[in-house]
């Protein structure tokens, strides 16, 4: 990677960090409601992964999705506006924090039923294989999703059909508040062995390590060598969501992981060490990111709520005659003319 691209990775990670801190602030100010799952600590995973993929590869992730959307190219404005529930958000305020999407970047969304998106990701990979598009699907999930049926069903199917897919576990070691040792019977990497799937354990606090692992897995998929499983070991600095007081985790454990902070490490061990940037450059990046996020907040705050008359839009892509909504007809139904009947019983 050249200097420009390395600095871009750094900037993306800082953007995610600042975005999340400001989102937490906006949540405290009640500008954001519902669930808000923040990505602090895990920035290297999304940024490293996306940097390894082609622009038309498919990305499917879980509800901790702000970092992924930003890394995949959604604007801070659109993401913040979505958190605010505004018409200018990534889904016009329909999905909220957990359901960001940006199909033009082939970012197929954040999914909030644990494990629910794994079969969908396998399906995207099946379509890529059947339609011979050459696309690879990256499916990210939390460690807590590796015990549910859809995980095993999707892993088995992907191996069976040799699908071009990367199953990536963002292993932050907690399923909400339940530690890995309490929720899983075997080490994560062994879960791939049951399906004879190529697997690697990856340092998720190292953006270059994530990037290189995803490059290898994507290369395998493109060569027709099938699915891969990446156990990306990482840590989230904040609670499961803003609703989590985070009392169950050891403060010393959190502090230990913060010593391996992916942003600080990348700055000192790569950018500064190789003299690619000066401390002033890093400071300028921080400032420009803060400005970008401040602008996103202003944009979101000024944006209108979605118009009420859009409420029923897109329940169906293809509306039909006599569409019935909410259990009662909007108007009395009209009789369809010229509809085929074989007249056998009439």
């Amino acid at each position: 990677m050249d200097k420009e691209n390395l600095v871009a990775l750094y900037r993306q990670m800082v953007l995610i960090r600042v975005f999340e801190d400001r989102a937490a602030e906006m949540y405290a100010k009640a500008k954001i409601a519902g669930f808000l799952h923040l990505y602090n600590g895990q920035e290297a995973v999304a940024v490293g992964s996306v940097s390894a993929l082609h622009p038309d590869d498919d990305v499917v992730v879980n509800y901790r999705d702000h970092g992924w959307a930003l890394a995949r190219g959604s604007s801070a404005r659109a993401v913040m506006a979505e958190l605010f529930g505004r018409a200018t958000g990534t889904t016009g305020g329909r999905g909220g924090s957990m359901h960001l999407v940006d199909v033009k970047n082939r970012f197929w969304g954040g999914y909030a039923i644990v494990g629910g998106h794994l079969p969908l990701a396998a399906g995207l990979a099946a379509a890529a294989q059947y339609l011979k598009t050459g696309r690879v699907t990256l499916c990210s999930m939390g460690d807590g999703s590796t015990n549910i049926g859809t995980f095993h069903a999707a892993m088995n199917w992907a191996k069976l059909w040799n699908l071009p897919i990367i199953f990536m576990v963002e292993n932050n070691q907690y399923a909400m508040g339940t530690h890995y040792d309490v929720h899983s019977a075997v080490p994560m990497i062994q879960k791939a062995a049951g399906y004879d799937m190529y697997a690697e354990q990856v340092d998720g606090m190292d953006v270059m390590a994530v990037r290189e692992a995803v490059c290898r897995a994507a290369e395998r998929a493109r060569k027709g060598e099938g699915p891969s499983f990446l156990d990306v070991v990482t840590y989230r600095y904040r609670g499961h969501s803003m609703a989590d007081p985070d009392v169950q985790r050891d403060k010393a454990e959190i502090a230990r992981w913060k010593e391996r902070d992916p942003i600080t490490r990348f700055a000192t061990e790569v950018l500064l060490k190789r003299n690619l940037v000066t401390p002033k450059d890093l400071n300028d990046i921080q400032k420009s990111v803060e400005q970008e996020v401040e602008d996103a907040i202003e944009f979101a705050d000024k944006s209108p709520e979605p118009a009420l008359d859009t409420l029923y839009d897109y329940i169906y892509q293809q509306p039909v005659r006599n569409m019935q909504i909410a259990g009662s007809l909007i108007r009395p139904p009209t009789i369809a003319k010229d509809i085929p009947t074989n007249g056998k019983h009439a």
């Binding site: 498919d58 079969p119 969908l120 396998a122 099946a126 069903a153 199917w157 169906y316």
Partner: protein, 327 residues
Amino acid sequence: MAEITYREALKRALREEMQRDPTVVIWGEDVVAYAGGGAYGVTSGLAKEFPGRVRDTPIAEEAIIGVGIGAAMGGMRPVCEIMTVNFTLVAWDQIVNHAAKQSHMFNGQIKVPMVIRTPNGHGRTAATHSQNFDAWFAHVPGLKVVAPSTPYDAKGLLKTSIRDDDPVVFLEHLQLYGTRGEVPDEEYLIPIGVSDYKRRGKDVTLVTWGRMTMESLKAARILAEEGIDVEIVDLRTLRPLDLSLALESVHKTNRVIVVEEGWRTAGLGAEIAASLQEMAFNDLDAPIARVAGLEVPMPYARNLERATLPFAEDVIAAVHAMMQKQY
């Protein structure tokens, strides 16, 4: 015009749509080789005709539906077969939380043009294998739900369902697979969301669908001998619900019985009765009645199974009760 079975009509629809569109595939449990193709023979022979496009899957309904959704998002038109409606329960999260919500929740950016084919029904298979979930599917915004009663409707509606850009739950019926009816050789389509008169009459309206259309027709033939002239509206689509013909019919007969196979409480019949009385209260000469399945888990024993399900005799009894009562 040849008389063919409901099963054969479905197969012809699948074949024609696979010939027409190379992105149409069939995925499901035992759809390739078992018993010639499909637990109930609907896909028999298609795997040979369309190499690589009809594939057996693991017994993992959540994945059959989920992989289908993903493939539909990725540009295909998968027809996913769930062997019986009972097993859709395993995939309920995928159907309700994923298939049905993609379009609206993602503000139109994602479409899911897939068909979930599955039969309702019974056949001495006891409680976990003898159920009818029409009302459950019909409850969900974002799904289209189709339940044809004749070979003619089955073919025309399945073709339309495959071409539709939304997820369609296509509810067949075990007891209908072997029934016969006329189906033209030339191509035709039946739109989703349009009900159909299956019998014209003037005394009482039966609003029904699926297997109960056939039971209603049997009942009507017997009632005709007694001089009671029954009109039968076959809904054909359960979501969106087309009550236009039912409404038209009520204006004429002033009496309605909703005939359904599933459990009565919170069944689709309750919704239909409520909607009709909202729109046509002044036309009604009697309270809207319901014929429905008894609310028990289906027993295995022959006599108990039969007692649980509605048949023509139950329809006849309901018509008699309605026609004899003075209001």
